[in-house]
């Protein structure tokens, strides 16, 4: 009887161990969140840390792909590892999420009476070129400003060397104004704001 119990216990442990391995390969329960757009006024922070041309919406590599590949390879599933490599890179995924956020913001801004003068407009500053996601015009006052949209809290709060340079460029624009360059050379702005969009759930 004792021997039978031991065998059952051992089998049970083996089953548990294999389940544990399987669970490492399978994603956890999916989390469904629904963004509720607040009717409260948008939070605007003047001259936040922003981004320079070339680093646009690159919200930092999370190392997600690398970690997934290593895990799959370690589990002896090289074909799945190769499949994972086919997924869009983290940077590209962030860019797409950023573009979606900008589009959504533009729709909301227009619904609230603002007008869009342009998208991805670059301005010259002593700290380098500064590309704004959208140029907003208030038709009631004729005030024109640049908007920087961050689609994640991480990107919003980042303050590395590049972000500090962007911060300086924005301070410059907010103080002295800046003229657009290239095909948008006719646009002049004297203010910038950085916002997190969509707004975080309360």
């Amino acid at each position: 009887m004792n021997a039978a119990k031991k065998i059952i216990l051992l089998l049970w442990l083996v089953i548990l161990a294999s389940l544990g391995n399987a669970s490492a390969l399978t994603p956890g329960a999916t989390e469904n969140r629904i963004w509720q757009k607040s009717s409260a006024p948008l939070e605007t922070r003047q001259a936040g840390p922003l981004q320079t041309a070339g680093r646009h919406q690159e919200n930092g590599r999370a190392g997600y792909d690398v970690a997934l590949n290593s895990l799959l390879a370690a589990k002896g599933l090289p074909w799945l590892s190769k499949l994972a490599k086919c997924k869009p890179a983290g940077v590209q995924a962030n860019r797409i999420a950023g573009a979606r956020a900008v589009h959504d913001f533009i729709v909301q801004a227009e619904a609230n009476g603002m007008q869009i003068v342009g998208r991805e407009v670059t301005f010259d500053t002593p700290f380098g070129a500064r590309r704004m996601d959208a140029i907003l015009l208030n038709p009631e006052t004729s005030e024109i400003g640049g908007v920087e949209i961050k689609s994640s809290l991480g990107a919003f709060e980042r303050f590395d060397a590049a972000a500090q340079q962007q911060f300086s460029a924005d301070r410059w624009i907010n103080t002295f104004g800046a003229q657009g360059v290239g095909r948008s050379k006719d646009i002049f702005i004297d203010n910038t704001v950085k916002i997190l969009w969509p707004p975080p759930a309360p």
């Binding site: 227009e110 948008s184 002049f188």
Partner: protein, 205 residues
């Protein structure tokens, strides 16, 4: 598609659309032709959307050489407009829209739409505001929505320079002095553009 490649494709397409209309290519995606008292300027900002396509729009503008000489210092840039409007703001709905393409074939499919929008929106706008009197009338409006996409300071600058070239030289300086008085404690971004134009007008007196 890279921005460089998309720009070349678009530029080649626009040449086939705009050269028959009398426009001359002065720069990549920037076209100019004489129009009444001014030059008509069409520029086509474009960008690559992270989802793949190249998105572009059109800015229709008018350039008065006589005003530009007083409004700006530095080398003459014939592709810079005195006033301009993005084409979507000339539509009744005014919502932001862009044309999109992934390949040359897509551009061919856009040809009729682009030509129609230019003919219905951009060219009539340019035609209308190529006259200094018409431009002045609109800028003198007290409704900010009439000031094209000029900020308050830029609008006053253009207005003062029009007064200046039309002979009301002291009136022009008075306009700028009044604006500077109102912006006495404002940030340099509100004052510097006005001060720069005032300096040039004083030198031209």
């Amino acid at each position: 598609m890279t921005l460089n490649f998309a720009t070349k494709l678009l530029d080649s397409f626009l040449q086939s659309v705009l050269l028959p209309l009398g426009f001359e290519r002065l720069d990549s995606l920037a076209y100019v032709r004489p129009s009444s008292q001014a030059d008509a300027v069409l520029s086509f900002p474009c960008r690559i959307d992270p989802r793949g396509p190249c998105c572009f729009t059109c800015h229709g503008g008018v350039r008065f050489d006589s005003l530009e000489a007083l409004l700006r210092s530095g080398p003459i840039d014939k592709t810079r407009s005195t006033v301009m409007m993005p084409i979507h703001l000339l539509r009744e709905k005014k919502s932001f829209t862009e044309w999109q393409f992934q390949a040359a074939d897509d551009l061919e499919r856009l040809r009729d739409t682009v030509m129609l929008d230019l003919a219905d929106l951009a060219l009539p706008f340019i035609e209308r505001y190529s006259k200094l009197t018409e431009l002045r009338r609109r800028l003198e409006s007290s409704t900010p929505a009439d000031w094209f996409v000029l900020g308050p300071a830029q609008r006053l600058n253009v207005l003062a320079v029009i007064q200046f070239v039309q002979g009301d030289r002291h009136g022009a300086l008075k306009t700028l002095d009044g604006a500077l008085l109102k912006q006495n404690s404002a940030l340099p971004s509100k004052r510097l553009p006005i001060e720069a134009v005032r300096k040039r007008l004083t030198q031209a007196l």
